[in-house]
């Protein structure tokens, strides 16, 4: 049990590759059973990495925030609804109480809901090690399915930061409302200029690629234009046309692909209309 950030890093250094960071542990405890169990350095009780703060025109989210923290945050509800919805969709109440947003990203699974939302929000990640802190683009943390560029035996993901969007949305398709991995999840965030045109937009989709997949061409359709139902539909269609979906046990590629259009449209509408459900 680490007592402070420095203590956690000191423990990792001392264990020299044989220790491993644990936060919520809802995924890690499963891995521990197979493979070689390692000494766990528990960072989950460090308050400095569990806050959600407004900083200028950005929001910073500590990596140790649980899914429940995000799902019930008034600040996020007001400024980054996509992250609220994504966090509320994960697992079950029991999982959300324990599992952290940092863990959801470090686990690097392509359908991780909060990672999809953070990618749309254009988040950067802070990574600390004995050598210091580095700030990197969220998507650069992905090295493959289930593989992160963060070395959990030496580094700690401490938080995320993203520019406050004009609006954001998150939509998810799964077989059940609880305890089901998504067939598809889509997050969208839009930033407006003074003339109500869209100055920037990000759309991210999972599980399509090993990392959250940005629908760049669909974004291109919207950037610089005024968002209307018509432009949104066009962007949604473009997203569908450019997404390369795969077959999996949860859904066939054809179904996934057609749902891309539906979910992208709904996520964008939610981003515009602020939390409305279709």
């Amino acid at each position: 049990m680490a007592e402070s950030a420095d203590h956690a890093l000191a423990l990792l250094t001392e264990l020299d590759g044989t220790g491993r960071v644990i936060a919520g542990g809802t995924d890690l405890m499963l891995d521990q059973r197979v493979g070689n169990p390692r000494v766990l350095v528990d960072i989950s009780r460090l308050p400095e990495w569990r806050s959600i703060e407004h900083r200028g025109d950005r929001i910073r989210v500590g990596a140790l925030c649980t899914h429940n923290d995000l799902a019930t945050s008034a600040l996020l509800q007001e400024r980054a609804v996509a992250l609220v919805r994504a966090a509320a969709a994960v697992g079950s109440p029991q999982i959300r109480m324990v599992a952290t947003v940092g863990g959801n990203v470090v686990n690097a699974l392509p359908a991780a809901d909060t990672a999809i939302a953070l990618a749309a929000l254009g988040a950067t990640a802070e990574v600390r090690s004995a050598a210091g802190t580095r700030e990197v683009d969220l998507l650069s943390l992905y090295a493959g399915v289930g593989k992160s560029t963060i070395d959990p035996t030496r580094e700690i993901l401490t938080g995320f930061s993203f520019p406050i969007p004009g609006g954001s949305g998150f939509k998810r398709l799964a077989r059940r409302k609880a305890l089901a991995l998504p067939v598809l999840n889509v997050a969208a965030a839009v930033w407006m200029d003074d003339g109500l045109a869209c100055s920037d937009v990000r759309i991210s989709i999972g599980p399509v690629a090993p990392a959250p997949w940005r629908a760049l061409e669909a974004e291109h359709v919207l950037r610089g234009s005024v968002l209307t139902r018509e432009t949104i539909s066009r962007a949604a269609h473009t997203a569908m046309a450019t997404a390369v979906c795969r077959d999996s046990i949860r859904a066939c590629s054809l179904y996934r692909q057609s749902m891309v259009q539906v979910l992208v449209r709904r996520a964008l509408l939610q981003a515009l209309e602020g939390g409305c459900d279709e």
Partner: protein, 613 residues
């Protein structure tokens, strides 16, 4: 793994103990503190049976490191209420029939408690969300939701109503329906006899038992669907410190074959494996972990055989054969009247093919049991739906007279037909016989899914012939049930399927052929309804198609053909008693459309084209 000291406050009591740094709170509660009210259903955060409260918050204790709980307040079901003073939630669950097998109940109660602590007057949606991480396979949730509402009301009225709940084993009417009910007789609403133990977490399921000197068992399973076993070398496993015994087919003193209808399955495969997950060897060791490691040290040499997974292909002579007698385990044929002639002349003929899927029972309690040697015999405390059958096959395995084996059914956490067959019973009994020590085994969720029986997937071709008014005259069907590697209940399932092939409809001319066919798929056995639900998917859809074809409502076409006194010819013959079909249909119609259904309704008011029953 290194040991650390944990300080836990559980149900108000303080404990200081040494645990592995990777131990889960569930392990610690159950194994170190003996608090077995918290259940293990999956170990993966999926079922919620292990739910406890840490500082008032619900967590899955199977994923929660004990060290993380150190210094914090933990509430388990044992801390919720007592025999004399139940918590209002426990009373409401008991009163409202929200407890069936009781395996999900402790977790469910704690999830509900966390909700009510923060929100004393929740809506139905809030309750459903709060228990969305807790699976129940028995109750269908409706009664659980209303029990939580009931408890919320009681608590708002000022807390406990302990006096309303009768003490254990005393039957007292709660809701009174008529004079007989008031005397506690037929029609009385009585609390479940063992319910109180279940809401208290005191009911003893098989995994809750432990005996002095007990060792733990694990099974080595085949990774191949179809292969010959060339050689089994257990020497490295036997040599592993902590291993008490290793058994293979060679250690079976009696008959190495079991099965409730046909003795076609070996307890431990001797020369051939027929599905992925078939047991080859079993190990007993001082800990489950050592037993697991020992299993991985057993060397098995296989010669792979071509496998067959499609039952249609399996019926052809060129397909890989699972048994010398061929792949057809059972065939039932029923024929009455002139089916071919009637079909040739019928005004309406409808023919379709239906495919139903394999279904896992998914009871929340995985298989578990302990076999305890005693003077002259062995007693197995184990999950079971069939103690007498289990006992006779287990005695035959040992070559013992039946009287030396006792099978005691523990409280069972859901079965649905899946615990009729033997699962881990032979392994613990054989290992207990060999070691002379109590042997416990608990299947993991993966093992439970891989190795135990399923519902038969059916491929059904069915044809109906009727006149223009929609009255059935003839029907024929061919059904292929994939019974997997061994017969289990397959022959009985296809017998029932044949007998109920066309449901509750009067049909004079019939031809039925049903088959149970072996493939290298998982074994299919008994599951709720025994082949009848599969047949219903076919005949009910055909009825709807017939209605559409002749322009009747789905209800009317059933009225015309449904069993009624003097008109109830099933494939197996005339049914004379207990015909409630038409009354049931009228009630269902009334439930669907109160304005038009019910007695005396004009059938033509129910066109409902395209609407399915």
């Amino acid at each position: 793994m290194n040991r650390q000291t944990a300080h836990l406050r559980v149900n108000g009591r303080v404990y200081e103990l040494e645990v592995d740094s990777g131990a889960t709170l569930l392990d610690t509660l159950r194994e170190d503190l003996g608090l077995t009210g918290t259940k293990r259903g999956c170990s993966e955060g999926e079922c919620g049976a292990c739910t406890v409260l840490v500082d008032g918050v619900t967590v899955n204790s199977c994923l929660y490191p004990t060290m993380k709980a150190s210094g914090h307040d933990i509430l388990t079901v044992e801390g919720l209420g007592t025999m004399e003073n139940l918590h209002p939630l426990q009373e409401a669950f008991l009163r409202g029939g929200a407890v069936q097998c009781g395996f999900c109940t402790p977790g469910m109660l704690l999830a509900a408690k966390a909700l009510l602590d923060g929100n004393p007057n929740p809506t139905e949606d809030e309750i459903r969300l709060a228990i969305s991480g807790n699976l129940c396979r028995c109750t269908g949730y409706a009664k659980i939701v209303s029990a939580v509402q009931d408890a919320a009301r009681t608590m708002a009225d000022g807390g406990s109503v302990g006096a309303h709940v009768p003490p254990l084993n005393v039957v007292e009417p709660v809701t009174v329906r008529g004079p007989a009910a008031s005397a506690g007789g037929v029609g009385a609403n009585v609390p479940r006899l063992e319910g109180k133990a279940k809401v208290l977490g005191a009911a003893r399921f098989a995994d809750d038992l432990s005996f002095p000197g007990m060792v733990h068992g694990k099974v080595l399973r085949s990774p191949h669907p179809h292969a010959l076993i060339r050689k089994i070398d257990v020497s490295r496993a036997v040599a592993l410190p902590g291993v008490a015994a290793v058994v293979t087919a060679a250690d079976i003193p009696g008959r190495n074959a079991f099965g409730i209808l046909i003795k076609d399955q070996p307890f431990l495969a001797a020369d051939k494996v027929r599905f992925v997950g078939e047991a080859i060897a079993a190990v007993a060791a001082e800990s489950g972990e050592i037993a697991r490691r020992a299993c991985s040290l057993i060397e098995v040499e296989y010669e792979l055989l071509p496998a067959v997974f499609d039952p249609i292909e399996a019926m052809t002579p060129t397909a890989p054969q699972l048994f010398a007698k061929g792949n057809i385990s059972a065939h039932r044929h029923i024929e009455r009247g002139q089916v071919t002639a009637v079909l040739a002349q019928a005004a309406v003929v409808i023919s379709e093919t239906f495919q139903t899927q394999l279904v896992e029972h998914a009871y929340i309690e995985p298989e578990a049991g302990v076999a305890v040697p005693d003077t002259g015999g062995i007693t197995a405390h184990v999950v079971s739906q069939c103690v007498h059958y289990h006992r006779s096959d287990l005695a035959a395995m040992l070559g013992w007279p039946v009287g030396r084996v006792r099978v005691v059914q523990t409280t069972v956490g859901g079965a649905f037909g899946g615990k009729i067959d033997l699962s881990l019973h032979p392994f613990i009994v054989l290992l207990a016989a060999k070691t002379g020590r109590p042997v416990k085994m608990v299947y993991t969720r993966e093992e439970s899914i891989t190795a135990t029986t399923k519902r038969h997937p059916f491929l059904i071709d069915m044809t109906f012939a009727a006149d223009r008014e929609g009255t059935l005259d003839a029907a024929m069907t061919r059904v292929i049930g994939d019974t997997g590697a061994y017969a289990s209940y397959g022959p009985a399932v296809v017998t029932r399927a044949a007998a109920t092939a066309f449901g509750p409809y009067h049909i004079p001319h019939v031809r039925v052929d049903t088959y149970a066919v072996h493939t290298n798929n998982p074994i299919a056995g008994a599951m709720r309804g025994f082949g009848v639900p599969q047949m219903a998917t076919a005949h009910e859809q055909l009825m709807d198609m017939l209605a559409e074809r002749v322009g009747l409502s789905p209800i009317e076409v059933r009225r015309r053909n449904g069993f009624a006194p003097g008109r109830a010819l099933a494939p197996t013959g005339d049914i004379r008693d207990g015909l409630g079909y038409l009354e049931t249909l009228e009630r269902a119609a009334f439930g669907l459309h109160p304005s038009v259904g019910g007695d005396g309704a004009d059938p033509q008011v129910l066109p409902l084209r395209g609407e399915r029953l």
